[in-house]
Amino acid sequence: MLRLSLTLGAFALVAASPAAAEIARIKQSSGTAAVERNAQRLKAAPGVQLLPGDQLVTGKDGRMSLTFIDNTRFALGPNSRVSVSEFRYDRTRQKGSFVTKVDRGSLAIVSGRIAKSDRDAMKVRTPNSLLGVRGTKFIVAVPK
């Protein structure tokens, strides 16, 4: 009974927190850089929180960098469009799945805990390929 109320209490705490669904946070941005969420377009700025499904867009002078809650790090170059199509992460078990789509531009990635948790738990899709990330640092470029 005690355990039940405790669990409910913990749930309420998480549900009340605005950061509940946060998957990443923008660290730096410059030039034209935005987060597209459904019909919304948010200016990318340090501290902006990302949700699954968000699209990251930069213009020809734009850049942005971000860190995910599993410690994965991204840096986007100019003229880029990158979507986080899927992001699920269990902080306690440190497992999850992560799919990023690079439609155009360039993206540097240092993978985090999701990539370590299971083989190909982290994937990156480009217009002509699908990559399985096995714990590493790399750059994907998709010229226009």
Binding site: R3, Q28, T67, F74, A75, S106, N128, S129, P143
Partner: protein
């Protein structure tokens, strides 16, 4: 003149056909990971790129990694790597038996923690409380949460916005040093703080 225009247009078209590429690097600790090319040009492949400092053209049936060579990384590639955020950093704070009181040594870690958060742009702070196995599970769940909240409250008192921080308590479920039940263990009475 017309011919030059056609040539320029052709060049642009060719440029437009450029295929995506992969540059694989060792990580910051010098360890070399790999990237599997699961699909390329619409067909599954079993290629695994494991050669560090290599460049691979994607979209072909059998992607092959080539050494970056003496020209090194391109300017825009170097700029991308420079733009990566700093890695996440972890801190450990230890507590006196059964309390939310920090050990004297850990009190000094707080200063380093505060400096680390202050030095970062757009920081996120995850605070995770733990206990040793002395006492019941429910009590330890509560105590671990209180320890985490104690640290979070202190950080808030230092001027860090609560919206950048989260706290959880994991009780005695994740022991740093595995022990039997009801064992007094200073290493297990801790709060882990991850700064991103």
């Amino acid at each position: 003149m017309i011919r030059a225009g056609v040539a320029a247009a052709l060049l642009m078209t060719l440029g437009g056909c450029a295929t995506s590429s992969l540059v694989l690097l060792p990580d910051d600790e010098g360890h070399q990971g790999a990237v599997a090319v699961l699909e390329s040009g619409g067909a599954p492949t079993d290629a695994v790129i494991a050669q560090g400092n290599s460049r691979t053209k994607l979209g072909t049936r059998a992607p092959i990694a080539r050494p970056i060579g003496r020209d090194g990384l391109k300017k825009d590639e170097t700029a991308l790597l420079t733009g990566l955020p700093p890695p996440a950093k972890g801190f450990l704070l230890y507590f006196e038996q059964g309390t939310t009181t920090l050990t004297p040594q850990s009190a000094t870690v707080l200063t380093a923690l505060r400096q680390e958060i202050a030095a970062r742009s757009g920081p996120e702070v995850e605070v995770i409380g733990h206990t040793d196995t002395v006492g019941g599970e429910d009590d330890n769940d509560r105590l671990s949460m209180k320890r985490a909240e104690e640290v979070l409250t202190w950080l808030a008192s230092q001027g860090f916005d609560r919206s950048m921080m989260s706290a959880v308590g994991r009780g005695e479920r994740q022991l740093m040093q595995p022990t039997m039940d009801n064992v007094d263990n200073p290493a297990n009475r801790r709060v882990e703080v991850i700064v991103r």
